[in-house]
Symmetry: C2
Subunit: 199 residues, 2 copies
């Protein structure tokens, strides 16, 4: 779908004028400088040195830029879940996988925390992110369905998907406020809070 989603098997034809990473970086600089809403696609195109029309071939919308190539990381998430040991409880398998998935490399560009801060503090991005979250949930839903022998449309997998996202979002919001704790710790704490809440 996106130009780079599959590794370029041929080098035939005109080469791309830019890359997802380059656009992401240039856009992020503008976003942090003058704000997301105050940055137009034209601004970004100028910064990259490319036509506005071309930008839309790399990212389907302006809202998609801060998420980068999230669909690719989801495949990693799928693998992490599948590698979870069979002898631990379902909630344990999911929880550990979520923790592993969110243990981002420190050298991520743009930095993971800055990216999440932008997403979670910009209303239009908060809204758009639901569509990304849905993809993320689907990975969990399918995993739970497989492990429990249920259908992905059944109630249990769906509920687990929603609740897992809820815990992750709660942890991320805490993470952005208090820079002291790690996201791993905060995910653990969110789970503990849920258990306390349910008595």
């Amino acid at each position: 779908m996106t130009p780079e989603s599959a590794p370029p098997r041929t080098t035939v034809g005109r080469p791309g004028a830019t890359s997802h990473a380059e656009i992401e970086q240039a856009a992020f600089d503008l976003f942090t400088d003058r704000g997301f809403d105050q940055t137009t696609m034209g601004d970004i195109a100028d910064a990259v040195g490319v036509g506005r029309r071309t930008l839309f071939r790399y990212f389907p919308s302006k809202n998609d830029i801060p998420w980068g190539q999230f669909d690719r990381t989801l495949e990693a998430f799928r693998l992490i879940l599948d590698q979870a040991p069979r002898d631990i409880a379902l909630h344990e398998a999911v929880h550990r996988s979520v923790v592993t998935f969110n243990a981002f490399p420190d050298d991520a560009r743009p930095p993971h925390r800055d990216r999440m801060r932008l997403i979670l503090s910009t209303p239009s991005l908060q809204a758009h992110s639901v569509l990304r979250y849905a993809d993320w949930r689907r990975v969990i839903v399918e995993f739970v369905a497989r492990r429990t022998g249920q259908d992905p449309t059944d109630a249990l997998p769906r509920t687990v998907g929603h609740v897992s996202l809820a815990l992750a979002l709660s942890a991320y919001e805490s993470w952005l406020e208090q820079q002291s704790s790690s996201i791993t710790t905060l995910l653990d704490e969110a789970m503990a809070e849920l258990r306390w809440y349910l008595k």
Copy 2:
């Protein structure tokens, strides 16, 4: 904020040309007829017999129309929570309140199920709804903070808010698929599923 958010204390000045309810109804007819994305604000304005510009004085955006006057129902939600007995567990108080809040009157126009189906099956509305969900969560967060003597920015209230929304969304999705069960039953089941999941 919205023209009718406060009961019109004075009858001075030019009377309104339409109402939230009328716009909602006309828009909903068009949405079901040709689809949400295929309906422009101009179409709705024509159907109501009013200027396009006027529509934006009743609803801040096209995405807000299907939600109607949700902010008003949130005040009812707040009251429901406050009336919860002091001697039951926190999670019980929240759960019962959510059930009560979602026991919509049968004669709601447009019908509650149709409205939710539109919202939950239209991507742009799904996205926009996050902002509404945030308001809904805030009501729960503030309640939990009050009952536990914590701050609304603390982790526990926030986690409860997110998880409560997760359960509600899961129940609603089931509700739209299988028309047999009541939303009350499905909310109960979602809670039961969560308990089963956590072992």
